[in-house]
Protein backbone atom coordinates (compact mmCIF):
# COMPACT_ATOMS: atom_id res chain seq x y z
CA UNK A 1 0.00 0.00 0.00
CA UNK A 2 1.20 3.45 -0.87
CA UNK A 3 2.61 5.33 2.12
CA UNK A 4 3.94 8.81 1.50
CA UNK A 5 5.36 11.21 4.05
CA UNK A 6 5.26 14.95 3.64
CA UNK A 7 5.50 18.29 5.39
CA UNK A 8 2.97 21.11 5.42
CA UNK A 9 4.72 24.34 6.48
CA UNK A 10 1.38 26.15 6.81
CA UNK A 11 0.29 23.84 9.60
CA UNK A 12 3.62 23.53 11.37
CA UNK A 13 3.42 25.24 14.74
CA UNK A 14 -0.36 25.60 14.74
CA UNK A 15 -2.24 24.53 17.83
CA UNK A 16 -4.90 21.93 17.21
CA UNK A 17 -7.35 19.59 18.91
CA UNK A 18 -7.91 16.01 17.86
CA UNK A 19 -11.16 14.15 18.51
CA UNK A 20 -9.28 10.89 18.50
CA UNK A 21 -9.72 7.29 19.41
CA UNK A 22 -9.47 3.89 17.83
CA UNK A 23 -10.57 0.30 17.97
CA UNK A 24 -9.28 -1.85 20.79
CA UNK A 25 -7.10 -4.67 19.53
CA UNK A 26 -8.60 -8.12 19.76
CA UNK A 27 -12.04 -6.91 20.84
CA UNK A 28 -15.22 -5.47 19.39
CA UNK A 29 -14.60 -2.37 21.45
CA UNK A 30 -13.42 1.07 20.50
CA UNK A 31 -12.83 4.21 22.48
CA UNK A 32 -12.68 7.95 22.07
CA UNK A 33 -9.69 10.01 23.17
CA UNK A 34 -9.19 13.76 23.09
CA UNK A 35 -5.84 15.42 22.43
CA UNK A 36 -4.59 18.97 22.04
CA UNK A 37 -1.13 20.10 21.08
CA UNK A 38 0.97 21.64 18.36
CA UNK A 39 1.16 20.32 14.81
CA UNK A 40 4.66 19.51 13.65
CA UNK A 41 3.63 19.84 10.01
CA UNK A 42 4.64 16.26 9.29
CA UNK A 43 1.98 14.17 7.63
CA UNK A 44 1.61 10.69 6.18
CA UNK A 45 -0.77 9.67 3.39
CA UNK A 46 -1.97 6.09 3.36
CA UNK A 47 -3.36 4.50 0.20
CA UNK A 48 -5.18 6.01 -2.74
CA UNK A 49 -7.22 8.18 -2.38
CA UNK A 50 -4.86 9.43 0.29
CA UNK A 51 -5.87 9.10 3.92
CA UNK A 52 -3.94 11.87 5.64
CA UNK A 53 -2.56 11.79 9.19
CA UNK A 54 -0.80 14.65 10.96
CA UNK A 55 1.65 14.40 13.83
CA UNK A 56 0.55 16.33 16.91
CA UNK A 57 3.27 17.01 19.50
CA UNK A 58 3.87 19.23 22.54
CA UNK A 59 0.66 17.77 23.85
CA UNK A 60 -1.27 19.89 26.32
CA UNK A 61 -4.34 17.68 26.56
CA UNK A 62 -4.01 13.92 26.62
CA UNK A 63 -6.18 11.08 27.89
CA UNK A 64 -5.44 10.00 31.45
CA UNK A 65 -2.36 7.86 31.54
CA UNK A 66 -1.20 8.69 28.03
CA UNK A 67 2.58 8.39 28.08
CA UNK A 68 3.73 9.09 24.53
CA UNK A 69 4.86 12.59 23.67
CA UNK A 70 3.08 12.76 20.32
CA UNK A 71 0.11 11.25 18.48
CA UNK A 72 -0.88 10.73 14.85
CA UNK A 73 -4.25 12.38 14.15
CA UNK A 74 -6.55 11.69 11.23
CA UNK A 75 -7.10 14.87 9.26
CA UNK A 76 -10.90 14.72 9.40
CA UNK A 77 -10.82 14.59 13.18
CA UNK A 78 -8.32 17.39 13.58
CA UNK A 79 -9.46 20.91 14.46
CA UNK A 80 -6.96 23.74 14.14
CA UNK A 81 -7.66 26.22 16.94
CA UNK A 82 -4.82 28.64 16.27
CA UNK A 83 -5.24 30.69 13.12
CA UNK A 84 -2.03 32.70 13.48
Amino acid sequence: MRREEGFDPELAGKRAECDGGSGVAGTRFAGRQDFAGTLTGTFVDHGDPPWRWYLLAELTTVPEGYTDDSVWCESGNLFVIDST
Binding site: A25, A30, G65
Partner: protein, 365 residues
Protein backbone atom coordinates in the same frame (compact mmCIF):
# COMPACT_ATOMS: atom_id res chain seq x y z
CA UNK B 1 -47.89 15.60 3.18
CA UNK B 2 -46.95 12.06 4.11
CA UNK B 3 -49.16 10.95 7.04
CA UNK B 4 -47.02 8.00 8.08
CA UNK B 5 -44.61 9.38 10.70
CA UNK B 6 -42.31 6.41 10.22
CA UNK B 7 -41.90 6.98 6.49
CA UNK B 8 -38.80 9.14 6.70
CA UNK B 9 -36.22 10.40 4.26
CA UNK B 10 -33.92 7.66 5.51
CA UNK B 11 -36.50 5.13 4.29
CA UNK B 12 -36.52 6.82 0.92
CA UNK B 13 -32.74 6.97 0.73
CA UNK B 14 -32.29 3.30 1.54
CA UNK B 15 -35.50 1.90 0.09
CA UNK B 16 -36.50 0.38 3.42
CA UNK B 17 -39.86 0.07 5.10
CA UNK B 18 -38.96 1.14 8.64
CA UNK B 19 -36.41 3.75 9.78
CA UNK B 20 -34.62 1.34 12.05
CA UNK B 21 -30.98 0.38 11.66
CA UNK B 22 -29.67 -2.65 13.51
CA UNK B 23 -26.00 -2.41 14.28
CA UNK B 24 -24.83 -5.95 14.92
CA UNK B 25 -21.81 -8.21 14.72
CA UNK B 26 -24.03 -11.18 13.83
CA UNK B 27 -24.82 -11.87 10.18
CA UNK B 28 -28.02 -13.78 11.03
CA UNK B 29 -29.39 -10.80 12.94
CA UNK B 30 -28.50 -8.51 10.06
CA UNK B 31 -30.27 -10.56 7.41
CA UNK B 32 -33.35 -11.06 9.61
CA UNK B 33 -33.74 -7.33 10.15
CA UNK B 34 -33.13 -6.52 6.50
CA UNK B 35 -35.62 -9.08 5.28
CA UNK B 36 -38.22 -7.81 7.77
CA UNK B 37 -38.11 -4.28 6.35
CA UNK B 38 -35.44 -2.61 8.44
CA UNK B 39 -31.80 -1.94 7.68
CA UNK B 40 -28.73 -3.54 9.18
CA UNK B 41 -25.11 -2.60 9.47
CA UNK B 42 -22.67 -5.38 10.22
CA UNK B 43 -19.74 -4.47 12.46
CA UNK B 44 -16.60 -5.80 10.81
CA UNK B 45 -13.91 -3.69 12.45
CA UNK B 46 -12.03 -6.66 13.82
CA UNK B 47 -12.16 -8.75 10.66
CA UNK B 48 -9.49 -9.23 8.05
CA UNK B 49 -10.13 -7.94 4.52
CA UNK B 50 -10.71 -11.52 3.31
CA UNK B 51 -13.22 -12.19 6.09
CA UNK B 52 -15.05 -8.99 5.23
CA UNK B 53 -15.30 -10.00 1.57
CA UNK B 54 -16.70 -13.40 2.58
CA UNK B 55 -19.26 -11.83 4.92
CA UNK B 56 -20.40 -9.38 2.26
CA UNK B 57 -21.03 -12.28 -0.11
CA UNK B 58 -22.83 -14.22 2.63
CA UNK B 59 -25.23 -11.35 3.24
CA UNK B 60 -25.75 -10.62 -0.45
CA UNK B 61 -26.77 -14.24 -0.99
CA UNK B 62 -29.54 -13.88 1.58
CA UNK B 63 -31.17 -10.47 1.16
CA UNK B 64 -32.41 -10.63 -2.41
CA UNK B 65 -30.88 -7.37 -3.56
CA UNK B 66 -31.86 -5.35 -0.50
CA UNK B 67 -29.25 -2.88 0.75
CA UNK B 68 -27.09 -3.38 3.80
CA UNK B 69 -24.13 -1.69 5.43
CA UNK B 70 -20.73 -2.55 6.82
CA UNK B 71 -19.29 -0.65 9.77
CA UNK B 72 -15.58 -0.15 10.34
CA UNK B 73 -13.93 1.58 13.27
CA UNK B 74 -11.73 3.98 11.39
CA UNK B 75 -9.07 5.10 13.84
CA UNK B 76 -8.96 8.82 14.53
CA UNK B 77 -5.69 8.89 16.43
CA UNK B 78 -2.85 6.41 16.69
CA UNK B 79 0.04 6.61 19.13
CA UNK B 80 3.55 5.84 17.96
CA UNK B 81 3.68 2.05 17.85
CA UNK B 82 5.80 -0.38 19.81
CA UNK B 83 6.26 -4.13 19.96
CA UNK B 84 4.11 -6.19 22.28
CA UNK B 85 7.10 -6.86 24.54
CA UNK B 86 7.86 -3.16 24.73
CA UNK B 87 4.26 -2.37 25.56
CA UNK B 88 4.03 -5.08 28.20
CA UNK B 89 7.23 -3.91 29.85
CA UNK B 90 5.70 -0.46 30.32
CA UNK B 91 2.91 -1.71 32.60
CA UNK B 92 3.79 -0.66 36.15
CA UNK B 93 4.17 -3.38 38.77
CA UNK B 94 1.45 -1.94 41.08
CA UNK B 95 -1.04 -2.33 38.24
CA UNK B 96 0.08 -5.89 37.54
CA UNK B 97 -0.26 -6.67 41.24
CA UNK B 98 -3.77 -5.17 41.38
CA UNK B 99 -4.83 -7.28 38.39
CA UNK B 100 -3.41 -10.41 40.07
CA UNK B 101 -5.32 -9.56 43.26
CA UNK B 102 -8.59 -9.29 41.33
CA UNK B 103 -7.86 -12.62 39.69
CA UNK B 104 -7.27 -14.27 43.05
CA UNK B 105 -10.20 -12.60 44.81
CA UNK B 106 -12.74 -13.68 42.21
CA UNK B 107 -11.07 -16.97 41.29
CA UNK B 108 -10.76 -15.86 37.66
CA UNK B 109 -9.65 -18.87 35.58
CA UNK B 110 -6.80 -18.71 33.11
CA UNK B 111 -7.67 -18.28 29.43
CA UNK B 112 -7.87 -21.63 27.64
CA UNK B 113 -5.46 -20.51 24.93
CA UNK B 114 -3.19 -17.64 24.09
CA UNK B 115 -4.88 -14.30 24.69
CA UNK B 116 -6.32 -13.16 21.36
CA UNK B 117 -5.16 -9.63 21.91
CA UNK B 118 -1.56 -10.73 22.05
CA UNK B 119 -1.78 -12.42 18.67
CA UNK B 120 -3.44 -9.61 16.85
CA UNK B 121 -1.55 -6.76 15.31
CA UNK B 122 -3.88 -4.01 16.41
CA UNK B 123 -5.97 -1.69 14.33
CA UNK B 124 -3.68 0.75 12.58
CA UNK B 125 -3.99 2.93 9.52
CA UNK B 126 -2.75 0.23 7.15
CA UNK B 127 -5.24 -2.43 8.23
CA UNK B 128 -8.17 0.00 8.31
CA UNK B 129 -7.23 1.18 4.84
CA UNK B 130 -7.13 -2.39 3.52
CA UNK B 131 -10.56 -3.05 5.07
CA UNK B 132 -11.97 0.02 3.37
CA UNK B 133 -10.56 -1.01 0.02
CA UNK B 134 -12.53 -4.28 0.23
CA UNK B 135 -15.75 -2.35 0.82
CA UNK B 136 -15.04 -0.17 -2.21
CA UNK B 137 -14.15 -3.16 -4.39
CA UNK B 138 -17.29 -4.99 -3.29
CA UNK B 139 -19.44 -1.91 -3.80
CA UNK B 140 -21.12 -2.43 -0.46
CA UNK B 141 -24.31 -0.34 -0.45
CA UNK B 142 -23.46 1.57 2.75
CA UNK B 143 -20.13 2.14 4.49
CA UNK B 144 -20.48 3.32 8.07
CA UNK B 145 -17.58 4.74 10.00
CA UNK B 146 -18.05 4.00 13.68
CA UNK B 147 -15.41 6.41 14.94
CA UNK B 148 -13.13 8.39 12.65
CA UNK B 149 -14.16 10.72 9.86
CA UNK B 150 -14.91 8.96 6.55
CA UNK B 151 -14.49 12.20 4.57
CA UNK B 152 -11.42 11.05 2.65
CA UNK B 153 -13.28 8.10 1.15
CA UNK B 154 -16.38 10.01 0.01
CA UNK B 155 -15.46 10.62 -3.62
CA UNK B 156 -14.30 7.06 -4.19
CA UNK B 157 -17.46 5.72 -2.54
CA UNK B 158 -19.86 7.95 -4.42
CA UNK B 159 -18.21 7.05 -7.74
CA UNK B 160 -19.25 3.48 -6.93
CA UNK B 161 -22.78 4.43 -5.79
CA UNK B 162 -21.87 3.67 -2.19
CA UNK B 163 -23.46 5.72 0.57
CA UNK B 164 -21.25 6.80 3.47
CA UNK B 165 -22.50 7.29 7.03
CA UNK B 166 -20.43 8.81 9.82
CA UNK B 167 -20.97 8.31 13.53
CA UNK B 168 -20.26 11.32 15.73
CA UNK B 169 -20.26 12.13 19.43
CA UNK B 170 -19.77 15.91 19.17
CA UNK B 171 -21.50 18.59 17.14
CA UNK B 172 -18.25 19.83 15.61
CA UNK B 173 -17.54 16.36 14.23
CA UNK B 174 -20.98 16.39 12.63
CA UNK B 175 -20.40 19.84 11.17
CA UNK B 176 -17.09 18.74 9.65
CA UNK B 177 -18.63 15.59 8.15
CA UNK B 178 -21.69 17.42 6.84
CA UNK B 179 -19.44 19.93 5.12
CA UNK B 180 -17.51 17.04 3.58
CA UNK B 181 -20.75 15.61 2.18
CA UNK B 182 -21.46 12.40 4.07
CA UNK B 183 -24.83 10.89 3.21
CA UNK B 184 -26.08 10.50 6.78
CA UNK B 185 -24.87 11.28 10.27
CA UNK B 186 -25.33 8.94 13.20
CA UNK B 187 -25.51 11.18 16.26
CA UNK B 188 -24.57 9.01 19.19
CA UNK B 189 -25.27 9.96 22.79
CA UNK B 190 -23.74 9.02 26.10
CA UNK B 191 -26.41 6.36 26.71
CA UNK B 192 -24.90 4.16 24.01
CA UNK B 193 -22.97 0.95 24.38
CA UNK B 194 -19.23 0.92 23.90
CA UNK B 195 -17.42 4.11 22.96
CA UNK B 196 -19.54 7.23 23.22
CA UNK B 197 -19.11 10.94 23.52
CA UNK B 198 -19.94 12.78 26.71
CA UNK B 199 -23.16 14.39 25.40
CA UNK B 200 -26.50 12.74 26.05
CA UNK B 201 -28.59 11.36 23.20
CA UNK B 202 -31.39 13.90 23.70
CA UNK B 203 -28.96 16.80 23.28
CA UNK B 204 -26.63 15.53 20.55
CA UNK B 205 -29.47 14.42 18.25
CA UNK B 206 -31.33 17.73 18.49
CA UNK B 207 -28.14 19.75 18.01
CA UNK B 208 -26.95 17.80 14.98
CA UNK B 209 -30.42 17.67 13.44
CA UNK B 210 -30.60 21.45 13.65
CA UNK B 211 -27.47 21.83 11.52
CA UNK B 212 -28.13 19.01 9.07
CA UNK B 213 -30.62 20.53 6.62
CA UNK B 214 -31.44 17.73 4.14
CA UNK B 215 -28.93 15.16 5.32
CA UNK B 216 -30.64 12.44 7.36
CA UNK B 217 -29.66 12.22 11.02
CA UNK B 218 -29.83 8.89 12.77
CA UNK B 219 -30.24 8.81 16.54
CA UNK B 220 -28.06 6.43 18.54
CA UNK B 221 -27.67 5.74 22.22
CA UNK B 222 -30.20 4.03 24.44
CA UNK B 223 -32.77 3.39 21.69
CA UNK B 224 -34.55 0.17 22.63
CA UNK B 225 -38.29 0.87 22.47
CA UNK B 226 -40.84 2.33 20.12
CA UNK B 227 -41.08 5.32 22.44
CA UNK B 228 -37.38 5.95 21.84
CA UNK B 229 -38.00 5.69 18.10
CA UNK B 230 -40.87 8.15 18.23
CA UNK B 231 -38.86 10.53 20.40
CA UNK B 232 -35.90 10.36 18.05
CA UNK B 233 -38.04 11.33 15.08
CA UNK B 234 -39.50 14.20 17.07
CA UNK B 235 -35.97 15.40 17.81
CA UNK B 236 -35.35 15.65 14.10
CA UNK B 237 -33.79 12.29 13.39
CA UNK B 238 -34.82 10.36 10.29
CA UNK B 239 -34.15 7.02 11.90
CA UNK B 240 -32.53 5.20 14.78
CA UNK B 241 -29.34 3.20 15.19
CA UNK B 242 -29.83 0.33 17.61
CA UNK B 243 -27.28 -2.10 18.98
CA UNK B 244 -28.08 -3.41 22.45
CA UNK B 245 -31.63 -4.16 21.27
CA UNK B 246 -30.38 -7.11 19.18
CA UNK B 247 -27.75 -8.63 21.45
CA UNK B 248 -30.18 -11.00 23.14
CA UNK B 249 -32.45 -11.79 20.21
CA UNK B 250 -32.87 -15.40 19.14
CA UNK B 251 -30.63 -15.17 16.10
CA UNK B 252 -27.83 -13.43 17.98
CA UNK B 253 -24.58 -15.35 18.36
CA UNK B 254 -23.83 -13.70 21.70
CA UNK B 255 -23.05 -16.29 24.38
CA UNK B 256 -26.24 -17.48 26.12
CA UNK B 257 -24.78 -16.53 29.50
CA UNK B 258 -24.34 -12.95 28.35
CA UNK B 259 -27.83 -12.98 26.86
CA UNK B 260 -29.25 -13.99 30.24
CA UNK B 261 -27.29 -11.20 31.93
CA UNK B 262 -28.57 -8.68 29.38
CA UNK B 263 -32.17 -9.79 29.85
CA UNK B 264 -31.85 -9.46 33.63
CA UNK B 265 -30.01 -6.12 33.55
CA UNK B 266 -31.61 -2.81 34.44
CA UNK B 267 -30.53 0.54 33.05
CA UNK B 268 -28.40 0.95 36.17
CA UNK B 269 -26.34 -2.15 35.46
CA UNK B 270 -24.09 -0.57 32.86
CA UNK B 271 -21.02 1.44 33.70
CA UNK B 272 -18.99 4.01 31.78
CA UNK B 273 -15.51 2.78 32.49
CA UNK B 274 -11.94 3.07 31.26
CA UNK B 275 -10.87 -0.05 33.07
CA UNK B 276 -11.33 -2.46 30.16
CA UNK B 277 -9.42 -0.69 27.41
CA UNK B 278 -8.06 2.52 28.88
CA UNK B 279 -10.63 4.38 26.81
CA UNK B 280 -14.09 5.23 28.15
CA UNK B 281 -16.77 2.79 27.12
CA UNK B 282 -20.15 1.65 28.40
CA UNK B 283 -20.31 -2.01 29.37
CA UNK B 284 -22.21 -4.30 31.69
CA UNK B 285 -20.75 -3.83 35.14
CA UNK B 286 -18.55 -6.73 36.27
CA UNK B 287 -16.02 -7.38 39.06
CA UNK B 288 -13.18 -5.98 36.94
CA UNK B 289 -14.91 -2.63 36.37
CA UNK B 290 -16.12 -2.50 39.97
CA UNK B 291 -12.68 -3.09 41.46
CA UNK B 292 -11.00 -0.43 39.33
CA UNK B 293 -13.66 2.09 40.42
CA UNK B 294 -13.00 1.60 44.11
CA UNK B 295 -11.04 4.11 46.20
CA UNK B 296 -7.43 3.02 46.42
CA UNK B 297 -7.38 1.32 43.04
CA UNK B 298 -4.44 2.33 40.83
CA UNK B 299 -5.11 4.95 38.21
CA UNK B 300 -6.35 3.28 35.05
CA UNK B 301 -3.68 3.08 32.37
CA UNK B 302 -4.03 4.47 28.90
CA UNK B 303 -4.71 2.32 25.84
CA UNK B 304 -3.27 -0.08 24.90
CA UNK B 305 -1.71 -0.80 28.29
CA UNK B 306 -4.97 -1.17 30.20
CA UNK B 307 -6.29 -3.58 27.56
CA UNK B 308 -3.13 -5.64 27.82
CA UNK B 309 -3.75 -5.74 31.56
CA UNK B 310 -7.46 -6.62 31.36
CA UNK B 311 -7.23 -9.12 28.51
CA UNK B 312 -6.27 -12.03 30.75
CA UNK B 313 -9.37 -11.43 32.92
CA UNK B 314 -11.68 -10.88 29.94
CA UNK B 315 -10.61 -13.95 28.04
CA UNK B 316 -10.37 -16.11 31.15
CA UNK B 317 -13.98 -15.19 31.96
CA UNK B 318 -15.17 -15.75 28.41
CA UNK B 319 -13.28 -18.97 27.70
CA UNK B 320 -14.60 -20.51 30.90
CA UNK B 321 -18.09 -18.98 30.57
CA UNK B 322 -18.13 -17.49 34.06
CA UNK B 323 -21.41 -15.60 34.25
CA UNK B 324 -20.32 -13.76 37.39
CA UNK B 325 -17.26 -12.34 35.62
CA UNK B 326 -18.25 -11.78 32.00
CA UNK B 327 -19.07 -8.42 30.49
CA UNK B 328 -20.29 -7.03 27.17
CA UNK B 329 -20.76 -3.59 25.68
CA UNK B 330 -24.34 -2.54 26.45
CA UNK B 331 -26.24 0.73 26.38
CA UNK B 332 -28.46 2.22 29.05
CA UNK B 333 -31.52 1.01 27.18
CA UNK B 334 -30.67 -2.54 28.19
CA UNK B 335 -33.33 -2.39 30.90
CA UNK B 336 -35.98 -2.56 28.18
CA UNK B 337 -34.53 -5.72 26.68
CA UNK B 338 -36.35 -8.34 28.70
CA UNK B 339 -37.31 -11.23 26.43
CA UNK B 340 -35.50 -13.27 23.81
CA UNK B 341 -37.54 -12.61 20.69
CA UNK B 342 -36.77 -13.18 17.00
CA UNK B 343 -35.25 -10.10 15.38
CA UNK B 344 -38.25 -9.70 13.09
CA UNK B 345 -40.58 -9.56 16.11
CA UNK B 346 -38.37 -7.02 17.84
CA UNK B 347 -38.53 -4.80 14.78
CA UNK B 348 -42.30 -5.09 14.43
CA UNK B 349 -42.86 -4.44 18.14
CA UNK B 350 -40.64 -1.37 17.95
CA UNK B 351 -42.58 0.00 14.99
CA UNK B 352 -45.98 -0.76 16.49
CA UNK B 353 -45.09 0.89 19.76
CA UNK B 354 -43.78 3.97 17.98
CA UNK B 355 -47.02 4.33 16.05
CA UNK B 356 -49.04 3.87 19.24
CA UNK B 357 -46.91 6.54 20.88
CA UNK B 358 -47.59 9.03 18.12
CA UNK B 359 -51.32 8.27 18.32
CA UNK B 360 -51.39 8.59 22.08
CA UNK B 361 -49.85 12.05 22.17
CA UNK B 362 -52.00 13.65 19.50
CA UNK B 363 -54.96 15.65 20.80
CA UNK B 364 -58.56 15.02 19.72
CA UNK B 365 -59.28 18.43 18.21
Amino acid sequence: MNKDPLRTKLCDMLGIEFPVIAFTHCKDVATSVINAGGFAVLGEAMHTPDEIAADVKWIRDRVNGKPFGIDLVLPASVPPSGSLDELMSNIPEPHRRFAREIKERYDVPDPKGAVDLHQWGGLNQELARAQLDVLLDERVPVIASGLGSPAFILDAAHERDILVFGLVGKARQAKRQLEAGVDAIIAQGYDAAGHTGAVGTFSIVAEVAAMARDTPIIAAGGVTTGRHLAASLCLGAAGVWTGTLWLACRESDVDMIIKERLLAATNEDTTYSRSISGMPMRVLSCPWTQEWAKPGAPEVLNAPYQMLLSSDYIQGANDNRRADLMTEAAGQGVGFVTTMKPAKQILYDLVEEALETFESIVGDS
